[in-house]
């Protein structure tokens, strides 16, 4: 069976917005993403329907290291498969772009 992460266990139905890099790092640690990054199988990320926002800072805290480790947006999205509505997928996309922009600007300096 495909490994999966259900963010509902993190939000516990109490929040509608996931924000902050620290919180993202905490989610990364609690789901063991450091290990999941190396999984051979793709990982499904289930985003609960009651969630309205995943801020760029939260995404960066949770997934920036995975994105760097996997090397590219395509490989990242192939490994982590997000199950969410289009509205939240747009925010995931924004988070990926922010990580990539930050990486490019770090290289250019």
């Amino acid at each position: 069976m495909m490994p999966q992460i259900d963010l509902a266990t993190f939000t516990e139905g109490k929040v509608r917005n996931l924000t902050g890099q620290e919180r993202g790092l905490s989610a990364r640690a609690s789901y063991g993403l450091q290990t999941l990054d190396d999984e051979a199988e793709p990982v499904t990320v289930i985003i609960p329907p009651e969630l309205d926002a995943i801020s760029t800072s939260f995404f960066q805290g949770m997934f920036a290291d995975s994105l760097r480790k996997l090397g590219s947006r395509d490989r990242f999205l192939n490994h982590y498969r997000f199950s969410a509505g289009p509205h939240l997928l747009t925010q995931i996309n924004r988070g990926i772009e922010a990580v990539e922009t930050r990486r490019q600007s770090a290289f250019s300096h």
Binding site: V15, N17, G20, D52, A53, S55, S57, Q91, T101, S105
Partner: protein
């Protein structure tokens, strides 16, 4: 046949004094005109470049930012309405939950517009997103705090009022940066 005597400029005595004055005045006037023409052309070129830069900045950078800010301001007015509503708190929480979705969309649009400003060649600096994250995180956390509040007066109302202040702060912060850019372009 009579040969005309060559005119030797400056040779005192060969050309009448007043003719020499008129000649040098004409030369000076010509040089002055040339300098003025060159200076006017440089100024006109600079003005045209500034006007083009301003136009591109206004249409490509500032306009999307203002549109997103206006959308957020519209949401802020609705949040203010929730703050003064006489409805039951449970009902006001539902209203706020519905507003949150539009608020999140507004923040998303603003983040995109500011990211484009960072990358745009029509805007200076890459500091456009500075401060945005703090306003966004604070606003989203305040929505969550209000929705999960238990005591209507002690928790819900203060969280909503603080949210209104945060959204006003965001508007002022971003609008100030967008206006300051116009000054920067004009002074370049």
């Amino acid at each position: 046949m009579e040969v005309a005597e060559p005119l030797v400029v400056g040779a005192v005595g060969s050309v009448p004094f007043w003719h020499q004055i008129a000649f040098w005045a004409a030369v000076a006037s010509l040089v002055w005109n040339l300098i003025n023409t060159a200076r006017t052309e440089v100024l006109q070129h600079r003005n045209r470049t500034t006007a083009t830069r301003l136009e591109e900045y206004r249409s490509q950078v500032r306009a999307p930012i203002i549109i997103a800010l206006t959308a957020i301001s519209d949401q802020r007015l609705l949040v203010e309405a929730v703050a003064i509503s006489a409805k039951e708190v449970s009902s006001r929480k539902q209203d706020l939950q519905a507003l949150n979705q539009d608020l999140v969309r507004g923040f998303g649009k603003l983040e995109d517009a500011l990211s484009r400003a960072n990358a745009s060649r029509f805007a200076t600096g890459d500091d456009w997103l500075t401060g945005f994250e703090t306003f966004q995180n604070n606003s989203f956390n305040l929505v969550d705090r209000a929705i999960s509040s238990v005591r209507p007066d002690a928790d819900f109302a203060p969280a909503v009022q603080e949210l209104v202040r945060e959204l006003k702060g965001l508007h002022g912060h971003v609008a100030q940066r967008a206006e300051a850019e116009i000054e920067t372009i004009i002074r370049r």
